[in-house]
Amino acid sequence: MKRRKFLRSSLGAGVAAGAMMSFGRYENLFGGKPLPSGADYDLVAVMGGEPAAMFDLGIQAMGGMGTFVSKGQKVLVKPNVGWDVVPDKGANTNPALVKRVIEHCLRAGAKEVYVFDNTCDNWVKCYKNSGIEQAAKDAGAKMVPGGSESYYQEVTIPNGKQLTKTKVHELVLSSDVFINVPILKHHSSARMTGALKNMMGVVWDRSYWHRNNLNQCIADYTLFAKKPALNIMDAYNVMMRNGPRGVSVGDLSNMKSLMISTDWVAIDAAGARMMGKEPSSVEHIALAAAMGAGNMDLSSMNIHRLKM
């Protein structure tokens, strides 16, 4: 309870501090247009550019990274680095996007940015061959190992139906701001993986989730106190089948898109639509929405669509 309160208050303080910041200085860095008035969109979607450029545009529409990260904070950026494959295979978050997200965090005054994932393939190889380790280092972030149980601490999930406790990486607990950077992909059992499913990479024992009603566990995790302040969904190359690992580049659809939202259910709903699925047909999205983790009704949202 204490931790939850603390997190809530620190998060609130962070957002408030960010809002008070002057955006002028920040925009100059990226040569962007002035902020659109009333920039509280439920979802910002960008299409047609390269990942980093799309993010520049999208985050500006969200009010800039300063809205989410304030000076001196420790930020955790959690991409999907699940597989030992090269970036072209579209199984891991695009390294250029990860790099850009980190740069924005640091420019917003983050004291330190950390990146990690509990990978499926050997983590050392995943970090290296995904290009994310290099991208993170180039951007000035710290790539943190996640391959030993000793990095994970047990936490309770209040009111979880199936998942009442789980071991999460210490960084999730020690960071001030948590930024979720999933890649949109087909998933052989969960049907789709995006922001909600990406949380399986911050916990140690995934097989418990698989044993105990996978979709319910994914939804239950949304009850955990430390939620992402921001979700950034890479939909540049979207794996339409054979996910989540993919067999060949023939599995990819070059959508050249990016979504940003503070609502992880909303961003997954948008992702589902991009893959030609009804959000309600993806069980973990429907369960999470029903539990109040977010909104999956895209028609009710204030969506800002940008094309490059």
Binding site: N122, S148, S189, A190, N215, S248, G250
Partner: protein
Amino acid sequence: MRSSVLKHIRTVFSVLVLLIFVYLFIDFRGTLGEKAFGPILYLQFAPSLLKFVIAGVAASTGFIVIIILTLITGRTYCSFLCPLGIVQDVFSRLGGMIKRRFRRYGYKKPYTWLRYFILVLTAGILILGGVYVLTILDPYSIFGRFMTYFAQPVVLLVNNILATLLGKFDIYALYRVDIVAYELAAYIIPVAFLVLVGLLAFRHGRLYCNTVCPVGSLLGLLSKLSVFRIRFEEEKCTRCGRCAMACKSSCIDFLNKHIDVSRCVNCFNCLDSCSENAMSYGPVRLRRSTKKEVTDPSRRNFITGSILLLTGASQLARAQTDPPVPTKESTVREDRLYPVSPPGSVSIESYISRCTACSLCVIACPTRVLQPSVSEYGFASIMQPRMDFHSGFCNYDCNRCTDVCPTGAIMPLMIEAKKLTQLGKAVFIKENCIVHTEKTACGACSEHCPTKACHMVPYEGNLLIPEVKDDICIGCGACEYACPTKPYKAIFVDGNPVHEAALKPEAEELEAAPDDFLF
């Protein structure tokens, strides 16, 4: 003046060799490039011989170099190149530090019958039955197991402590690695040998090398023909006995001014110990050796005979290409007909006839899927690594084990070929599957499958359940590792006794990407 140059050269050289070999076996981060292994392991006698004779790799000529080296210089190999020999020197030194009396060796009679019995047994079993005795007695492999079974956990522990400390300062250059033990039975032989070799070295110098080690015995026989030897300068010697006290091989009979060259390991401690400069290392004097040689032709015959026999083994081994018959006692384990042998091993039969269980592949494997076996290949093949899909799975884009094997048990396999080599086939047990028993989604197996041989098909309601396409399955075990059911998995890989070729997964064209948002 003491002639200590040779001893110092030996010390420095052997320490360097030991450091290289230690690093080879504690390199859990895989920092050594794949090209480093061949040259480092080239001169290891038994692995090189096996690779040449049994695996038929013509380039594996290291053992010939050692034979020539021995014929010229004596058992230089044992003091300069054998990692187990050097480790024993370290033990002996420690022994000497603890008790002065452990430092004084003195002349002892050889256990001639025992040493040649072990040599004949090792060679005989190798020719008739397989590699089993050599696996247990090959000094390089014993050293490898010491490192893998005992040193590695210590290294990881130190690494983990350092990683934790650095982590406190926000430095993540080191990372923690969970320390996991192998199956207990696999430790029996390494522990027994640690005690045997350790105690003998602690108290008696190189007694192990001159009594048990078959490589030592073989090179000992060859060294009887060697050109360079340690000898007495009779006119200078005062029979003080210092040399005999310093001799780790206890092979200097100073009263008779005789050195048992078959036991001398060229450590050169005796040269260093002689205050009268009455010992030297140089070409043998003819009058001595001719006398010996004439009186004992049977030993020569033994040497040529054993070399011939060893060559004969290659034909024997090459003829056995049929897969082994599945005998319940030796290979069946509950639901698995065959164990899974590593990629590049071609067949279980050829693999178990070549592997000396040095366990270098166990250390080199980044996913820890290679684990020492107990009875999976049969008890005679204990400690030979197998693919254990409860410990890990074979990384699709990795062929490191095929780069490191010194005996030819695991042959080189290019990465693209490895991706199409079927080590075994996944078998789905629906009755164990979460989707069937719990009626909830799972699909961890299919999620991990790199070829989608394991894919999901519609099941009851909205559920999907796994199905396996045999022909594109490569037996990597990702499905088995990921399967969350306990205690038995719902999907497992049954080994191919002879590795097969898998088909390439085929792909249809996708629809074009949407040019606008679909929401």
